[in-house]
Amino acid sequence: MAEQPKLAEEMKKMEYEPLLPVEKKLVAWSVGLGLALLIFLYWVSSTFFPSGH
């Protein structure tokens, strides 16, 4: 059986990849959409499923 890779070795082998603008955009869109939906869904839940708010 092939030798099992060690986590520490795999970590060392990892090469640096600069954060691309498209990744930053992905993160920003995801968080932005999340926050916008947070407000919208909170409004929906408190309006249409009011118990508790």
């Binding site: 092939a2 099992q4 060690k6 990849e17 995801s30 839940s45 249409f48 499923f49």
Partner: protein, 605 residues
């Protein structure tokens, strides 16, 4: 994507592998644990429905009560199988009330002709003993699980031995957890004649099982190895979830608006979890820990969404090497244990006044199915005990578990969709590896099949019970009012000064009693339906509880902290700890609070 699809998720979750070679799917592998859990859960559910046709098929299952005298702790779950004896004090048709040796009254339905019985005489019905009930439960579960293991292409001999050890050790932990000094809540101290108790409820058996499992997994590796074939926490928890669907369906029928409320809010909570959690963890891993994309994406999914399944799905979506999700997963499984031990107690101390916030929090914060639902069950017991102690309010059991389960299942359901979105994004915007193509069929491939079983049992019980519950609820409400009225009039009768007013008051009492009788007659069949549903779910619940205990116990067995440490978890653990304890848990708490604060479970009784 093919390379990553060959990882055996079941083996990975159960700590049975730790490299692409050992985690590869074996050619002889049978059906997945997902499908098996679905069939096992449905099988037990169908058997439990026998009571609707008058057949008490599962009534012999073991039920464990809190105890100071161990001989009184175990009994069959159904009265049909319980022995009862005492002096007859009332005979009403086929129902007789007896005074038992402990001075308590009990009403039992009898099948034989009651003409031969008389008030003052003895009644003695033989039942099966607690230990016989436990042995039957073991044999039945062993049989069912061995058939299941056959479908998994597991080694049946090893499975049977492993399952036997797991069953008896787990049950011992469960039994120990019911010791009154550990379990009894404050309101029961007097009944047990004990001065103090840890008030951890019987569910403390879960934590004992987890601890014993951890001891075996980390200090007795040879024994853990022997139990490996049957150490399948994900199979046990998924089967339990399918069975639990019925119980929650019954609860939903009784409080439909609360159940739909929980579902909608659960959906809101997980949308937030996906969008906010994932992006932030990914950013932290890339920006501050300099992880490559191949590592950062599965890590973000593993920490933020749903541990093993999400890490593997994401690894597949971005075509990471199999070793990446495998290593992320081993970290997830171990940290889920840490969360299971800590979070329910944190929730009890800080969120006891917001029970459903606590339930949603467990679903959002604990990262494996087993860990999340099991933590939900633990939190359920702890928070109800705390509320009883602090405010005297006894909430119905199960609603906190239901909230944790709902949130967790929604997370599971969306994994395939999320993996598909990531695959599309990666291939079109970030980096498209040769042969990489996002295929919608992956959504189905990643869909957790046991959820189908959960939905089926939930919907069937909901459909069966909803009309009956809707008919019974207003009647019960009116009867409650009438009973209050009777009590109040009886007080007037007791303190009346003018005897001339007595007939009118007695007439009032009689009219109220007649009305109660009339109301009860109106809903006889609906009450019978609800009683059957309660019996059916109580009987299937025996197996649900056993599967829960096995889950805790085997999670402990497969969580090898030592091995992970030897492999050098270092940087990966650092980002995991920072993200999980730094903000995932707290954002999860905020989202849970936002959508669930003020929503309370129904009060028992």
């Amino acid at each position: 994507m093919d390379e990553v699809k060959r990882i055996d998720e079941d083996k990975l979750t159960e700590g049975q592998c730790n490299s692409p070679e050992t985690c590869a799917v074996e050619k002889k592998k049978g059906i997945s644990e997902d499908w098996l859990a679905l069939w096992l859960g449905l099988f037990i559910f169908v058997l439990s429905l026998g009571v609707f046709g008058g057949a008490d098929i599962l009534g012999w299952g073991i039920s464990t009560k809190e105890w100071t005298d161990s001989s009184k702790a175990m009994a069959p779950v159904s009265k049909t199988f319980q022995g009862v004896k005492g002096e007859i004090i009332k005979i009403d048709g086929q129902k007789i009330t007896i005074k038992k040796a402990d001075g308590k009254d009990e009403t039992v339905s009898v099948k034989e002709d009651t003409a031969s019985l008389q008030v003052g005489g003895r009644y003695d019905k033989k039942g099966i003993s607690g230990f016989a009930s436990l042995a039957l439960t073991y044999l039945a579960m062993l049989m069912i699980m061995c058939v299941g293991a056959q479908f998994l292409n597991a080694n049946i001999g090893k499975f049977a031995v492993g399952f036997t050890v797991i069953f008896w050790l787990s049950y011992l932990c469960w039994f120990a957890g019911h010791y009154a000094y550990i379990a009894a809540t404050k309101d029961k101290l007097e009944a047990f004649k004990i001065p103090w108790s840890l008030s951890l409820t019987g569910e403390s058996g879960f934590i004992i099982a987890l601890l014993v499992g951890l001891i075996i997994g980390n200090f007795f590796p040879k024994l853990a190895e022997k139990l490996k074939e049957a150490s399948r926490p994900e199979l046990y928890i998924k089967t339990a979830i399918v069975i639990m669907g019925a119980l929650l369906g019954l609860k939903a029928a009784q409080s439909f608006s609360l159940a739909s409320n929980i579902m909608f809010r659960g959906l809101c909570a997980i949308i937030e979890a996906y969008l906010i959690y994932w992006a932030v963890v990914y950013y932290v891993a890339r920006k501050y820990f300099k992880f490559s994309r191949e590592w950062a994406a599965p890590l973000a999914s593993g920490i933020s969404i749903c541990g093993v399944s999400a890490a593997i799905a994401t690894g597949g979506a971005i075509r990471a090497r199999p070793v990446v999700p495998i290593m992320v997963s081993s970290l997830v499984v171990v940290f889920a244990v840490v969360e299971m031990v800590i979070l329910p107690f944190v929730a009890q101390s800080g969120l006891w006044s917001e029970p459903l916030v606590a339930g949603a929090w467990m679903g959002l914060a604990v990262k494996t199915d087993g860990g999340a639902v099991a933590s939900g069950a633990m939190t359920d017991a702890l928070i109800r005990a705390k509320n009883l102690e602090m405010t005297g309010v006894a909430y119905e059991s199960g609603w906190i578990t239901m909230t944790a389960t709902t949130v967790k299942l929604f997370i599971d359901i969306f994994i395939g969709i999320w993996a598909f979105i990531l695959a599309v994004l990666w291939c079109t915007r970030i980096e498209c590896k040769p042969g990489q193509k996002a295929q919608p069929i992956e959504i189905w491939n990643r869909f957790p099949k046991f959820v189908i079983g959960y939905v089926l049992t939930f919907v069937i019980l909901l459909i069966v019970c909803w009309p009956a519950a809707r008919a019974v609820a207003p009647v019960d409400e009116e009867i409650k009012g009438l009973k209050k009225e009777i009590t109040s009039v009886e007080k007037q009768v007791a303190s009346i000064a003018d005897p001339a007013a007595l007939p009118a008051l007695n007439e009032k009492i009689k009219a109220a009693r007649d009305r109660i009788k009339g109301l009860n007659d109106q809903v006889t069949s609906q009450r019978a339906t609800m009683a059957s549903a309660n019996t059916a779910t109580a009987e299937s619940n025996v197996f649900r509880v056993m599967f829960f205990v096995f889950t805790f116990f085997t999670i402990g067995i497969v969580s090898n902290f030592k091995k992970l440490w030897e492999e050098g978890i270092g940087k990966l653990a650092a980002v995991y700890i920072l993200c999980l304890f730094g903000f995932i848990i707290w954002i999860g708490l905020f989202i849970s609070w936002l959508f669930f604060h003020g929503v309370k479970p129904p009060v028992a009784g």
